[in-house]
């Protein structure tokens, strides 16, 4: 297991006071978050706390209403999926964003196809996809030219993660990658998450499973009703404290100030 370390270096990705509303419904309230290279940050929170909304904001799917996003210390303006991709932010969505009618290679390169003039460069795309899958030690795919519709849940998850890694990404965000998986496939995905961090990626890992969180995470960030209750090294908390942060927004002297937490609840 990775040794928890004190905060070091500059975060590769930092959010400051991010707000996001859908119509009259404010989902994110002044959210701060720091994500470090080589670290897995577990983003936790109850259903509807705003985890998916937060990462979709980072990805440019839902542009933010207020606050700041810093990448490598510099303020950036992310207004679409291409902007985040250009910075090296890759997201594996909860509702996997794969096209069932395309094969594995086609999905991995979707929107960023390699070309030879006008022609798609199928050969180099297939080779790169295959190499990436092999590097991630993915051994369960029969063919990289298999349609995604014929893959199991775990295989889809693997393809989605491999797609994120293919792009020399610096930040990889995974929204509940193990939620629908069995024991063995969860194991594979957790190993994959750890390997991503060990190779220098900054990883954000959303999960409701505390066992998984404590197994792979270096830091934990807890969202409570759209507010960031804590963003700390996981060594500073134990499991019941994290659960308190998730359900009540505070635990002991960590979390949202009592007055504020009370205000949130009404």
């Amino acid at each position: 297991m990775s040794v928890p370390q004190p905060e070091d270096g500059t975060p590769i990705l930092e959010l400051r006071g991010v707000d996001k509303s859908f119509g009259a419904n404010q989902v994110l309230h002044g959210v701060d978050l720091k994500v470090y290279p080589g670290k897995v940050t577990a983003l936790v929170g109850d259903n509807g706390a705003g985890k998916s909304t937060l990462i979709k904001s980072i990805a440019g799917i839902h542009p933010i209403d207020g606050g700041q996003v810093l990448f490598d210390g510099n303020p950036v303006d992310i207004s679409g999926p291409r902007d985040s991709a250009r910075l090296g932010i890759e997201v594996v969505y909860q509702d996997l964003a794969l096209a069932d009618n395309l094969d594995v290679v086609q999905n991995m390169f979707l929107g960023r196809e390699r070309k030879n003039g006008l022609l798609l460069d199928e050969i180099s795309m297939e080779q790169a996809a295959r190499d990436t899958l092999a590097k991630l030690s993915v051994r369960t795919l029969k063919s990289v030219r298999q349609l995604v519709s014929s893959l199991s849940g775990g295989q889809r998850q693997t393809v989605a993660i491999a797609k994120a890694v293919l792009w020399e990404s610096k930040v990889v965000i995974l929204d509940e990658p193990t939620a629908a998986l069995g024991v063995a496939q969860t194991r594979q995905v957790l190993d994959l998450v750890r390997r991503l961090a060990d190779t220098g990626h900054a990883v954000v890992f959303i999960s409701h499973n505390m066992v998984d969180v404590f197994e792979v995470a270096d830091r934990v960030a807890a969202l409570y009703l759209g507010r960031m209750a804590a963003d700390i090294p996981i060594s500073q908390v134990n499991r019941s404290q994290v659960i308190e942060l998730i359900t009540a927004g505070r635990s002991g002297d960590i979390g949202i100030a009592p007055a504020q937490a009370a205000a949130v609840e009404v």
Partner: protein, 425 residues
């Protein structure tokens, strides 16, 4: 936990994973894989080919002395061409999971524009044709914007335009009138033929080119250790194409003049036109990123959007392509009939084209379909229309039968989809 796995210079050819990509060299394996796909609901070109064979046999039996004659085959090609071209455009629309109910009447409007320019303004053929095609593209831009930018369901937009464009054609041509199309170049599409020798040369060039491209791709994939089909399958495919091309050329090279003394032989110009469109559009769909994005939007629009694909742009362009092809279809139909009437492009035109695309294997649910589907399905539809014509069936029966065939094809599509969902293909 091993931290260096990711940096190991692993190669995909090592054991573990991708076994199907490396063991694809046996014909037996390919045949098994094919039947697994069919059982999984992916019927491909199978229904259309079976349909062509079965209907062909049926009409040969019912009309032995007229159906399979070179004259009727040339007529069949002429009949099929406008249906196929319109259906090619609909394949693009259906790939997105949309529909264009106005495609038929758009072909009528564009043909009317061409006919008016030829007859009233005395414009040269190329100006008239260009105007018709530009009209088609502009109409597509309009339809596509209503669907893509404003977000009205394509069903409603094109239902409204179905009525609207008929009004425009009526205004252009006038109640009860017809505008003749007598320009020599335009009529040549349907009543002139490629000289027999040139026809044979073109046929051989097409076969050689196809074989070369297929073999080249196979060699490349094999050399680089990529997924590839067994050689036997590639060769078989080349052989089938070669036989079909040679047969068609041979039949159409026979003198089919109704009276002795004149010679009427060669491939009708409509066929090379369809072949060129087939090659061009297949290239666009299969080999360019634009085509890839069309499939992606049809398969999962949200995934496409998250991948940074401009979904609106894809939608609008697809409607432009479809309406442009509708214009070409209208021109070919006008050349065949020698005139444009207020009802041109109405009636069963659209039903034939949608039927062609779906019978050919394009899904009504989006994401699955190829340009060749329009050709195969268009042949099925044209054979039905042609054969029923030879039998002299009454019009009412003709409508019922063609409508029934479309329903049948749509059922096959829906069942294939359910089957695919059930078997995880």
């Amino acid at each position: 936990m091993s931290s260096n796995t990711i940096s190991q210079p692993t190669s995909a050819t090592e054991p573990g994973g991708f076994e199907a990509d490396r063991s694809a060299d046996s014909l037996g394996g390919a045949v098994r894989a094919y039947f697994a796909r069919v059982r999984g609901g992916d019927l491909g070109a199978l229904p259309a080919i079976l349909g062509i064979v079965a209907l062909g046999l049926l009409f040969v039996v019912l009309r032995p002395e007229t159906f399979l004659t070179p004259r009727n085959m040339a007529n069949l090609a002429d009949q099929a061409a406008p249906i196929i071209i319109l259906a090619m455009g609909l394949v693009f629309i259906l790939l997105l999971g949309d529909i264009d109910l106005s495609a038929g009447v758009v072909s009528g409007v564009c043909a009317a524009v061409m006919a008016k320019l030829l007859a009233d303004a005395g414009a040269p053929w190329y100006v008239a044709v260009l105007a018709a095609v530009v009209t088609g593209a502009a109409i597509g831009l309009f339809t596509g914007s209503l669907v893509g930018l404003i977000g009205i369901p394509s069903f409603v937009v094109t239902l409204a335009l179905f009525l609207g464009w008929q009004g425009v054609t009526l205004r252009l041509i006038g109640q009860g009138g017809t505008v003749p199309v007598r320009d020599e170049v335009i009529s040549a599409i349907s009543d002139r033929n490629v000289p027999v020798t040139l026809g044979w040369i073109l046929a051989l060039v097409v076969i050689a080119l196809y074989a070369l491209l297929q073999m080249n791709r196979w060699r490349m994939q094999k050399a680089k250790g990529l997924a590839h089909q067994p050689l036997a399958v590639v060769l078989l495919r080349i052989a089938v194409i070669a036989v079909v091309v040679v047969l068609v050329t041979a039949v159409l090279s026979v003198d089919r003049a109704p009276a002795p003394g004149v010679v009427l032989a060669g491939i009708p110009y409509a066929i090379p036109l369809v072949v060129v469109l087939l090659l061009l559009l297949t290239f666009v769909l299969g080999r360019t990123s634009f085509g890839r994005h069309i499939y992606a939007v049809g398969g999962n629009a949200e995934a496409a959007r998250r991948a940074g694909i401009n979904v609106t742009k894809i939608k609008v362009s697809v409607f432009v392509i479809s309406s442009t092809l509708a214009a070409i279809s209208g021109i070919v139909a006008a050349a065949r009939l020698g005139s444009v009437a207020p009802g041109s492009g109405g009636g069963n035109t659209l039903l034939y084209a949608v039927g062609a695309a779906v019978i050919g294997g394009t899904s009504l649910f989006g994401g699955r379909g190829r340009v060749r589907d329009a050709v195969l399905g268009g042949l099925v539809v044209a054979i039905i229309a042609n054969g029923l014509g030879l039998l002299g069936t009454e019009a009412y029966l003709n409508f019922i039968i063609t409508g029934g065939v479309l329903l049948l094809a749509a059922s096959v599509d829906a069942l294939a989809r359910r089957r695919a969902a059930a078997t995880g293909h």
